[in-house]
């Protein structure tokens, strides 16, 4: 699960959850990959990304490194910023661990890079 996917995931399908965002991450195994950089795609995604949630996620994984704390002005033309955004959104992957609902504490296990978002019949 890439951090881009984590950034858009919520637990709001569960009964009793209002917002369900952002999900906490307890990671047991994290992988860093090399993914082809597509500046146009990253530029458009930055508009959708919740940047504070991205920072929190990177911190949870112990991979905060040099992630800029906020989106810079005129990011569309700032290749260095786009490259950093690309690295954090697309190249850091959670392989094993848990995602945690911020309202109920319910855990969604991540196995082999795939989060299990299946809810029990009494939870929806």
């Amino acid at each position: 699960m890439k951090l881009l996917t984590h950034n858009i995931l919520t637990s709001k399908c569960l009964k009793g959850v209002t917002v369900g965002y952002p999900l906490g991450i307890v990671a047991k195994e994290v992988k860093v990959n090399e993914v082809e950089f597509n500046p146009e795609f990253i530029s458009r995604m930055i508009q959708k990304v919740d940047w504070p949630a991205l920072c929190k996620a990177a911190e949870n994984l112990g991979h905060l490194d040099d992630l800029p704390p906020a989106v810079v002005e005129d990011y569309e033309n700032n290749e260095e910023f786009l490259k950093k955004a690309h690295h954090f959104l697309m190249e850091i992957e959670v392989i094993n661990g848990d995602l945690v609902c911020p309202e109920t504490g319910r855990k969604f296990p991540v196995t082999d890079g795939i989060p299990n978002m299946l809810a029990n019949e009494d939870e929806v």
């Binding site: 399908c13 965002y21 146009e40 795609f41 995604m45 919740d50 890079g113 978002m117």
Partner: protein, 280 residues
């Protein structure tokens, strides 16, 4: 009609390890899925040359996702079968995968995606696989959550196999209730083999539906899958032989028969003439 997969078992059981492997090894199946995925992406009418963020609903082993990757998009796939997702992982597809039940709703933030495709999955939502399941409610939960996580103006295209017209009615009514506009595009409506149903849903208010293929009766429905035909032709062209059934092939065959001393009609201007196309 018995023998429909969704009448045999719930999807996560039907698509167990063996079926998942079979699914992704059957070349004819793969070619059909590929063709349908390409058509679905075409119907999405995405802005040209722009990489988009797409959700693949019922992504299975990633066959349709690969079409998305090929066209330069970034995608996330959801499926209920861990065996199918396992095959997708083995095939090292580019998209992120999630294990989930579409009928429970999509767990994504508002406006997360620029589009959605779904190949051969929607009919599975019409069955009650558990006693607590109410298909209409599950469809509504699915469509309303999908509507929410699509950015305004984007579309969702579903290729599926409706069992009957009341199923189509059930699906479209829940989609409309959830806020979508749009409708059904039926390619090759007059061919039992080639007929394909695409539910095209839009979020940006009423818009004209894209045109279906093969509606003009002169346009012949493909009798094989497009790609295998192309492959066969390329193979033969490379072998230096005339492609099967062409006029040259017929003339060559007749020459061969004459050399074998068999009785052969003389060649004329009518030899290998084009026959009128099939009227279905």
């Amino acid at each position: 009609m018995s023998g429909r997969p969704e009448h045999q078992a719930p999807p996560e059981i039907f698509y167990g390890q063996d079926e998942a492997r079979k699914y992704t090894r059957n070349t004819r199946m793969m070619e059909i899925q590929l063709a349908m995925s390409e058509r679905a992406v075409e119907l999405l009418c995405l802005p040209e040359n722009q990489p988009c963020h797409i959700i693949d609903l019922g992504c299975g082993s990633g066959l349709s996702g690969e079409t998305l990757t090929e066209q330069g998009h970034v995608w996330t796939g959801v499926d209920i079968s861990s065996a199918m997702l396992g095959v997708a992982k083995e095939r090292e597809v580019e998209g992120d995968l999630l294990l989930g039940d579409l009928g429970q709703g999509l767990p994504f933030r508002a406006g997360a995606f620029d589009g959605a495709i779904s190949i051969s999955a929607l009919q599975w939502l019409c069955n009650a696989d558990q006693r607590s399941h109410n298909p209409a409610n599950r469809l509504y939960t699915f469509f309303s959550s999908l509507y929410g996580c699509l950015s305004r103006g984007s579309r969702a295209v579903f290729q599926f196999y409706p069992e009957n017209s009341s199923q189509v009615e059930l699906i479209t009514s829940q989609a409309m209730k959830a806020g979508f506009t749009g409708g059904l595009v039926v390619d090759y409506p007059n061919s039992t083999k080639a007929k394909k149903f695409f539910l095209c849903l839009m979020t940006g208010g009423q818009q004209p539906l894209p045109a279906a293929l093969g509606v003009d009766s002169r346009e012949e429905a493909p009798s094989h899958v497009a790609f295998s035909q192309k492959r066969e032709r390329m193979k033969q062209l490379r072998a230096g032989k005339a492609p099967k059934k062409s006029r040259d092939w017929i003339l060559e065959k007749k020459e061969r028969r004459r050399r074998q001393g068999k009785e052969t009609r003389d060649d004329s201007k009518f030899t290998g003439r084009k026959r009128p196309s099939h009227v279905w």
